[in-house]
Subunit: 118 residues, 2 copies
């Protein structure tokens, strides 16, 4: 049942893995989760953290996250309050690894903005 990093990957293809990565890879979803990790709970506060994210799309994305069991919604007068479930909060470890990866390779990014001539 438990997958240890040292043995990764057992099978190159895993539908659950593909499903999870596509969920968090959808446009703005990761940024919405990051807003929740940072302690934002109110719809309007979450909306403010992501430049260009419409309320319609935020509503849709939060509903996807609720369906996936990553957030709970507490109805409010205008918009609800959103909280990470234990499962959603546990994704923070994945995000922290990706943040670290990004930081490690940021300089390389800056030096390779042009596609290499291979």
């Amino acid at each position: 049942m438990t997958a240890r990093s040292s043995e990764f990957p057992h099978n190159p293809y895993c539908p659950y893995f593909q499903q999870a990565v596509e969920l968090i890879g959808r446009r703005w979803t990761a940024s919405i989760l990051r807003a929740l990790f940072a302690g934002n709970e109110r719809f309007t506060d979450i909306a403010k953290t992501v430049p260009g994210l419409s309320h319609r799309l935020l509503t849709e994305r939060l509903e996807e996250l609720r369906e996936a069991g990553l957030v709970t919604i507490e109805p409010g007068i205008k918009h609800g309050t959103y909280r990470l479930t234990e499962r959603g909060a546990d994704l923070r470890r994945v995000f922290a690894e990706l943040e670290d990866w990004n930081a490690r390779w940021y300089e390389a990014d800056q030096q390779n903005l042009e596609p290499s001539a291979t």
Copy 2:
């Protein structure tokens, strides 16, 4: 420059983070990377690991990964040989965390296939 997990997240919104997560979240991309992590290098071998992945789409995804600096392509007679760059291989740590997360919550998944009645 370096992002430490303990301080995560500094800013809820980070365009580099959003870009990275969208890249690996594209349909099949994570599964293609997993095939590479597992040691597959030949186009046809990679194609075989992902059920239903067309050669056309695999070509497109591998080209995206090359442009992002995650794989190199060595041309072959029919199809090329693909290798992870140091940067691409470094993503394994992120994938291992996501694999672990999936394993931890797999049972909950099985118990919550129906959307909860909130």
